[in-house]
Every structure is written in structure tokens, then in C-alpha cells.
């Protein structure tokens, strides 16, 4: 993960979605979650790694995650796990995210009701 950089504002809320997605597969602690996100995005999504904890606390408070203390490699760590409510949220948020991505893609490709940047430049 790159250093000292942050993502544009339109990615607000995306870390939450990624955390939910990463935790769908296994219970992880904060550092491992950040590593998973970095690995799965090829390091394209960047944020201060410490910022993952407020995100985790918020999701936990909303009941989307649960946490428990467990010993990992000799250290007491807090492991986060997706709750059943979190799983439902992940499904609905992923569906909406895909809709948004599709809509934006259509817009830039000049599809239905969109504009074509190429056509505009040409004229």
C-alpha cells in the first residue's frame, strides 16, 4: 500500500464495503484486513492504515461486524467477523455498487442517455 496518499472523495464508503467483503471469507484482525485489501486491489486503493480502525468500530457499532479477542502468533489480537446482518448488508451494498459502476460506465461510454466524450471532442 502506498504511503502518505489518500483516495479521492468519491471513494467515501468504499473502504466499508471492502472490509465487509474481505471479512465474508474469514475472521481477521485490522492489519490482516488492510493487507487483504491491498492484495486484492493490487495496491490501487490507498488510505492511512490506521484509519481502518474507526471504520471497523463503526461497522461493529452498526451490528455488521462482531469482534472477539484471540491470541494470534503470541499476541492478543481483536479478530473481526461478519455478522448475519453484515452479510445481508454486503449483498445489498454490493448490488447497489454494481448498479452505480454500470451507470457510470454507461455514462462515460456514451450509452443510453449518456454523452460520448469522443463525439463531443470531435465536434
Amino acid at each position: 500500500m502506498a504511503k502518505g496518499t489518500s483516495n479521492p472523495d468519491f471513494l467515501n464508503g468504499v473502504p466499508e464495503l471492502m472490509v465487509l467483503r474481505v471479512l465474508r471469507d474469514e475472521s481477521l484482525h485490522g492489519y490482516a484486513i488492510v493487507q487483504q485489501i491491498a492484495q486484492r486491489t493490487g495496491g490501487k486503493i490507498e488510505f492511512g492504515e490506521g484509519s481502518i480502525y474507526p471504520v471497523l468500530y463503526r461497522l461493529e457499532q452498526d451490528g455488521l461486524l462482531t469482534s472477539r479477542k484471540e491470541e494470534v502468533r503470541g499476541r492478543q489480537r481483536i479478530l473481526y467477523r461478519l455478522s448475519s446482518k453484515g452479510l445481508k448488508q454486503l449483498e445489498s451494498r454490493t448490488a447497489r455498487w454494481q448498479e452505480v459502476v454500470c451507470a457510470i460506465q454507461t455514462f462515460f461510454e456514451g450509452g443510453e442517455n449518456g454523452f460520448s466524450p469522443v463525439a463531443t471532442t470531435a465536434s
Binding site: 500500500m1 504511503k3 502518505g4 468519491f10 471513494l11 467515501n12 464508503g13 468504499v14 466499508e16 464495503l17 484482525h29 485490522g30 492489519y31 488492510v34 488510505f47 492511512g48 492504515e49 490506521g50 484509519s51 480502525y53 474507526p54 471504520v55 468500530y57 463503526r58 457499532q61 452498526d62 499476541r75 489480537r77 481483536i78 448488508q89 445489498s92 451494498r93 447497489r96 455498487w97 452505480v100
Partner: protein, 238 residues
């Protein structure tokens, strides 16, 4: 900046934002673990990453503290809605009713000592109003408290309506009767009981229901945290 300075800066930022001690402590502990993991990883890779780079990877203490401060605090009531808004309100109504009766014993009874219906006929109508008034005051106070607590907790407004409904039902079934002494001073009575609601007792249920109705109307335009959190990330992303 070394890690201790970074930690101290974060601690100060958290303190300035009035982050609860338990939350701050948990965050600090997790960040220490995160820092140790990062150090371990860079040592294993044996690349040119310096300690300063590792600290930069953790992020800006101010941003972390700001993000932590933005997490809505959930009160005890918000974390236990069933207990707080369905079980406690009727119990608390009874406690408030008992306190009101206690106030009567210390203030009202001495004020009317020696008076009877013969000497003061207005006592009859005063007693008629006083009983239901006690129930209305007790249930209304608890209905107001429940609605305020729900509003502050960010829980769904339905919890407030449920609390008002439970309190209203209790109000309808509660009977407080004051009987003024007829001829002999000191022979007045106070009776408290529960029973099948007579039409007159239904009046006691109206005030909490009105409070619940107002609460519902006022909160219609304000989404709760529960409903907001369902839409937030993607609508923000969009």
C-alpha cells in the same frame, strides 16, 4: 517523528475530541499491534522502508482521531432497546407513581389535615381529579423520557411508539383513588390497584399516546441511524 511521538499526538487528538477512554485505549492498543506488524513485515522484506515510512503508512493522527470522533456513540439504552423501551418504561412509570404518592404523603396530607367533606366540599372534586392526574403525570413523564432517549440514540422511532404504547396500556389499567374523609378528620383513604380499564381510565392512556403520536410526526422527516446506515456508503460513493 518516532512512533512514541506519533502515539502521543494521536492520544492528544483523541483527548481533544472527547473520545471515551475505553474506545481510545482499544484504538491505541490495536495501532501498536498494527505498527509491530508493519515493522515485522518491512524487516522480513528487508527493503529500504524506514521507520518514518512505517509511521506514514499508519496515517495522520488527526485524521484517525477525526474519523473516530465521527462514530455515533451508542448509549446503554440504544444497545438494549428491548429492555430500555419495552420493559423499563412500565416499571419506571410505577416508580414515578410511587414517588408522586410519597410527595402526597409529605406535602398534600399535612395540607388537608383536619379537613373533611363537611367543612370543605371542594375536596370531593379535588380527590376525583387527583387520582387520574397522578397516573397521567407518571406515564407522560416516562413517555417523554422514552421518546427523548430514542431520539438521542438514533434508534428507529418505532421503539419510541412502542414505549408510549406500553406505558399507555399500563396507564389504562392503573387506578389511583383518593377518598376524602366524610365527617371524621383523618379517615381519608388512598387506594392503588390494577384492573380491567373502565372508560374513565382510558383517559389515562390518552396522554402517552398523544406524546407517541407527536414523536412519530416530528421524527418522520429525520431518518434514524439504523435506516441511514443501510444506504450511506453507496449513496456517498455515488
Amino acid at each position: 517523528m518516532d512512533f512514541h511521538q506519533w502515539q502521543q499526538q494521536l492520544r492528544n487528538e483523541l483527548y481533544q475530541r472527547h473520545i471515551p477512554a475505553d474506545c481510545a485505549e482499544r484504538l491505541m492498543n490495536e495501532l501498536v499491534d498494527h505498527y509491530l506488524d508493519l515493522q515485522e513485515a518491512t524487516q522480513m522484506k528487508s527493503d529500504a522502508t524506514t521507520n518514518n515510512d512505517v509511521i506514514k503508512m499508519l496515517g495522520d493522527p488527526k485524521s484517525i482521531a477525526t474519523a473516530t470522533a465521527q462514530i455515533p456513540r451508542r448509549s446503554w439504552a440504544a444497545r438494549h432497546p428491548l429492555l430500555s423501551y419495552l420493559i423499563l418504561p412500565p416499571l419506571m412509570s410505577l416508580v414515578v407513581l410511587a414517588l408522586l404518592i410519597l410527595v402526597d404523603v409529605f406535602l398534600l396530607v399535612p395540607a388537608v389535615r383536619g379537613r373533611t367533606l363537611e367543612t370543605d366540599p371542594w375536596l370531593a372534586s379535588a380527590c376525583l381529579v387527583l387520582g387520574p392526574l397522578h397516573v397521567i403525570v407518571a406515564t407522560s413523564l416516562i413517555a417523554l423520557w422514552s421518546c427523548r432517549s430514542v431520539a438521542r440514540s438514533g434508534r428507529s422511532k418505532l421503539w419510541g411508539i412502542a414505549a408510549c404504547l406500553v406505558v399507555a396500556i399500563l396507564g389504562a389499567y392503573t387506578s389511583v383513588n383518593f377518598a376524602a374523609p366524610t365527617a371524621v378528620p383523618g379517615s381519608g383513604r388512598l387506594s392503588l390497584g390494577f384492573g380491567f380499564p373502565l372508560p374513565v381510565f382510558w383517559m389515562q392512556a390518552v396522554t402517552p399516546l398523544i406524546i407517541g403520536g407527536f414523536f412519530y410526526a416530528l421524527r418522520r422527516a429525520t431518518p434514524s441511524i439504523e435506516t441511514e446506515s443501510e444506504n450511506t456508503p453507496l449513496s456517498r460513493a455515488a
